[in-house]
């Protein structure tokens, strides 16, 4: 369930989950109090404070729930999990220059856990990996001039061709800065 929520489309539905009830209540209140009956409200102050309390409590619960739920998906936590599990960690170094990637290993076995370490040699670049079905799995920001690489741990489950794209605008051939990872079937 949470695996579905913390995806691109999960974010989209989460946004609508916050927006739609708000918009519905907004248009109801505005319509009712400007068209149907614009007279002064008769709701007693005690009821108003109760509504206020409930509303803020709901917001608070969503706030805490989402951000606790997301902890598990934080890269640092993922990396810590990978380090404590017995699975071998495959190291892949990525070096970005306008407008190409240098990737130390483009052939990875399905099921293996990879730590990508990325650097940029000139300007800001991104390193985004797309699933063969077109959705983006993750993106990393590669900033030039840093001592340490940007890192991320990811486990590839399904075999296939995974597109790599730069997602930090880097000049006139930015869109052409692409590469590919081959995730081979595990035998």
């Amino acid at each position: 369930m949470l695996d579905m929520l913390f995806t691109g489309w999960g974010a989209f539905w989460m946004t609508l989950f916050m927006l739609v009830p708000f918009a519905a209540i907004f248009f109801y209140v505005v319509y009712r109090k400007s068209v149907t009956d614009s007279g002064p409200g008769t709701t007693p102050p005690a009821t108003m404070s109760r509504i206020e309390g409930i509303w803020l409590a709901v917001v608070f619960v969503v706030f805490v729930g989402v951000n606790l739920g997301s902890l598990k998906y934080m890269p640092t936590i993922k990396a810590a999990h990978a380090a404590t599990s017995n699975q071998p960690l495959h190291e892949v170094d990525v070096s970005a220059t306008s407008w190409a990637f240098d990737i130390s290993n483009r052939q990875i076995e399905a099921g293996s856990t990879v730590r990508f370490s990325g650097r940029s040699k000139d300007t800001m670049h991104g390193f985004a990996v797309y699933h063969p079905d077109g959705r983006m799995l993750f993106t990393m920001m590669l900033m030039p001039g840093l001592k340490n690489p940007t890192t991320l741990v990811h486990t590839f489950k399904e075999p296939g061709k995974y597109k790599v794209r730069c997602l930090e605008y880097c000049g006139i051939a930015h869109h052409a800065m692409q590469d590919e990872l081959i995730i081979a079937r595990n035998n």
Binding site: F6, T7, G8, W9, A11, F12, M14, T15, M18, L19, F22, A23, F26, V29, V30, K33, S34, S38, P40, G41, T43, M48, I51, E52, W55, L56, V59, F63, V66, N67, S70, L71, K72, M74, P75, T76, S98, T123, M124, G126, A128, G134, R135, L137, F138, T139, M140, M141, M143, L146, T150, T151, L152, E168, Y169, C170, G171, A173, H174, H175
Partner: protein, 509 residues
Amino acid sequence: MTIATAIIQKTPIFGKMFAVDKSTGLEEINAWPALMIMASFVWLVVAGLFGFVMPATQIFDLNTDHFYTTLTLHGAALAFPFSFQLMMGVGLHRSGGCVGKGVTGWLPAMAFIAMNLGAALLTVGVLMGLKVSLVVMYPLPLVGAQMGVWSMNAVVVGFSGIYLVLACMILLYPILVIKMLFFGKKRPDLVLSERSLNDPGMLGMILSALTLLIAGTPLVIVGTTVMAALYGIIPMSMAAWATEPVVFQYAFFIFAHNLMEAMALMVMSAMYATLPLYLADGTRKLFSNKLANLALWILLLTSVTSFLHHFITLTPNQPAVLSYWGNIMSWGTGIGAAISIFTVLATIWQHGLRAEPGIMAALIGWVLYILDGASAVVTSNVAWSYQLHGTMWQSGHTMTVIVAMSIMWMGVLYHHYPVITGRKLDPVLGSWFVRLFTIGGIGAAVAMLAGGAAGMPRRFAAWNQEGWMFYGNLIVIFGLILGASFVVYMYNLMKSREISAPMGEMARA
């Protein structure tokens, strides 16, 4: 007659929309704000034209260079000389009338010149080849010059423009607001709608001006050092620290993020001031001033450090604990928003609403702003950031926040327009404006967020992959509707009619 009034009079087409009413003795409050607002609409037209060329280059498969040129020009024109300048104009008019002080002297003139000359120079720089996007993607300007993609001259011209725009936003405008609110003598003849500084309608102005000054200072220091080196005043080696990408990026986003928050504070404040004037029972008061102010303070305190969410995907170079801090602070702004949602709706519920186009524009602009807030906190989450950063989601967020705030100001302008020009706007055209931007604004926002959710990259000249063109087409359709709403708004300004009643009296009503 002031210089500002004279410039408006001499400007073709747009001058007619904002011709200042000289019969009321309020020219000192009206003239410079009117000129700034007029100029902002000129830039809106510029931004709109570039905004349509941008997707057209993709649909008709034109040279990708044109996409990146229009991308840079569209974003820059929309954010600074349109949106910020509109806010500056309406905001100064509000401040003047609330504290009874004129918008006169060299400060408004300098702010106006810095913003417009700066934006013009940046445009020239971009047309000379500097395609660096709205956020300059430092060190891209220098790297592009080294690679020979554009000339060093284009960098110097473009950076000079950006520097002037920043000088207006970080120094001149905030100082002008602070000067008006805290210094000088109140002139009873200039007081239109008196407010104390602790009024929610005024508090946001103060917090916002201070935020711009404080959050902008690191960027002023870094920017001044880089500019001095570019002009050869100091050797490049002395500017080495400031040209470090990490230094520039953080200084830039501490400001850029808080710029958006400052604009939000200012527009919420204007909303808190304007809404009570349109309550059906004539109460002229918010449901609770205390709650309104609390929301502003929460917004301020949580927003200052939430800029860290821009660098979540840089982990571990940005320590994970800072990323999580940025995450929590961003969601904290949501608590502020929740309180303002309650305040606004409770005010309408208890006192009824006179649903005139101006206040409806401000209110629905605010709905768009809340929609944007939801998309913003979602992408600021440490998990979602990895799936959304650098996608169309981010463009959707940026565009929506700018459009939402601009529409709120355009709604508030409805209230100020008769005072400035002695003319009134047509309510039928007004409600068409509201209808069209509601469909166009919400539609374009949702289409862009959906594109981002599907992995469609932003600032990317090849939408014809993975079926992203579908979202591109939706964005164009809703963008056209949004554009049409702005055309209707400006047509309304052009066709505004003289008010028969003496304006001096009405302005003070």
